[in-house]
Symmetry: C2
Subunit: 235 residues, 2 copies
DNA sequence: AGTCCATTTATAACAGGGTTATGAGATACT
DNA sequence: AGTATCTCATAACCCTGTTATAAATGGACT
């Protein structure tokens, strides 16, 4: 509705176009000339707004973290914190599965700039206040872990350390799956991710029975959510 | 001792130079002209021996898997399979910590070619025979897991699925640590990797006491191994 | 030994990227 | 209105992957 685009509207459109081209054509599609053509400006726009391709890619990576956080935020809290952890995991995996190229950049896998949002000493009292963008995603796991501890499902423990364990496992599974291991989608989830979640929950203090019940609860919540959202689930 | 280099000796020297430049200067140092200058040939060598930079990078990635496998193979088998799993994890992490750039390429994080050794359906009976290079590393984890199950430390389970859980967690920790999360080396190991290992072992059927004893055994073995090898441990 | 053929290699050019110099246009403020 | 600043298009520059071409090398066969 704006014939004359606003001042830094170009900036946002460049990032949007970058993500679009990235998803469609992979990292090689992230080219200044292609971006400029897509948005309808010259390559100079990249330099006036970002200073170079590296900074633009950094912004794309940051956007990935923001989207992941937003997605995880949509996972509400129920009275079963372990089920919530499963739901977070499923959502985390779903985000990466839907936009693998974007999150490959976000997780620093293809960023040429090399500068990535480091969470530094997340598990120590100190460096945690230096909360960057990426920390928000981790915080969702931390909070659910905290509730699991408070509810007695997990043994008393440092919530950050316990959450870091869950995050490591989840991130590893998602990364390996995105790299092509673990085969088709449902297979990886049913054969590895869910058993992995049960293993971790039990190892952190839950009972096998309760953990399995929580996976069923999370599955039901997932199905209900997809039905409402009307998303043609690709997994 | 060979004044005149053999025929495809250039090929090996190119890969060696690539790994050297990669470790020293990061992915940006992987340039045809720099490689050629380093080896003392023209850039044509890259094309006669590999067909292009993409294939050369693939070879570098493959070399990473080979080195990882070789390193894991050095971890012997003791009568404590859970301790062996800890030792494998420590070794896996050590390899990545010592050559982060190489394994960033190996794990497909920076490969522009996009073609990576996919392990496909590792957890199904079928696709496992299509054993690629990278499978050897995974096999070490599978075998240790199998022994843990046979020894009664882990509950009876599909060894591939259980090993895939361990691999996911380990790979996730290593990846996140290499990205700068989890802070300094010892911190990440003591605060996250070891507790994560205990959590997984317990979740798979081990007792807390036995799992903790195995971590101590693995620590002792690690110290003894570093003493003998005389490696100035950076972790 | 001499000749032929395949492979390897160097040189030089091409193509496609990121980046920069420069000036024109637009925008905002006085 | 005038001026300063920001934004952007044009055109060039440099660097990197790649390729065309021909020289050189080395082995195989007669």
């Amino acid at each position: 509705m704006s014939p004359k685009p606003r001042a830094n509207d170009v900036k946002e459109r460049l990032v949007a176009a970058a993500i679009r081209l990235l998803d469609e054509g992979g990292p090689e599609a992230l080219q200044a000339r292609k971006l400029a053509a897509e948005v309808g400006v010259s390559t100079m726009a990249v330099y006036t707004h970002f200073g170079g391709m590296a900074a633009l890619v950094d912004e794309v990576a940051r956007t990935g973290f923001v989207r992941l956080s937003a997605w995880l935020a949509e996972v509400g809290e129920t009275d079963d914190p372990v089920a919530d952890i499963f739901s977070l995991a499923r959502t985390y995996r779903q985000a990466v599965a839907e936009q693998p190229q974007l999150f490959a950049v976000t997780f620093g896998q293809a960023a040429p700039g090399g500068k990535r949002a480091t969470l530094s000493d997340l598990t120590t009292e100190e460096g945690r206040e230096a909360a960057q963008e990426g920390l928000e995603a981790f915080d969702h796991i931390v909070r659910a872990t905290e509730r699991a501890i408070e509810a007695g499902r997990f043994r008393p423990a440092d919530k950050y350390q316990a959450a870091a364990q869950l995050w490591s496992a989840l991130h590893g599974f998602v990364t390996l799956e995105a790299s092509g291991h673990f085969g088709a989608a449902e297979q990886g989830i049913d054969h590895i991710l869910i058993p992995l979640g049960i293993t971790l929950a039990v190892g952190l203090g839950d009972t096998v029975e309760q953990a399995e019940r929580s996976t069923e609860a999370a599955k039901a919540a997932w199905r209900a959510r997809n039905r409402n959202a009307g998303q043609g689930g690709n997994d």
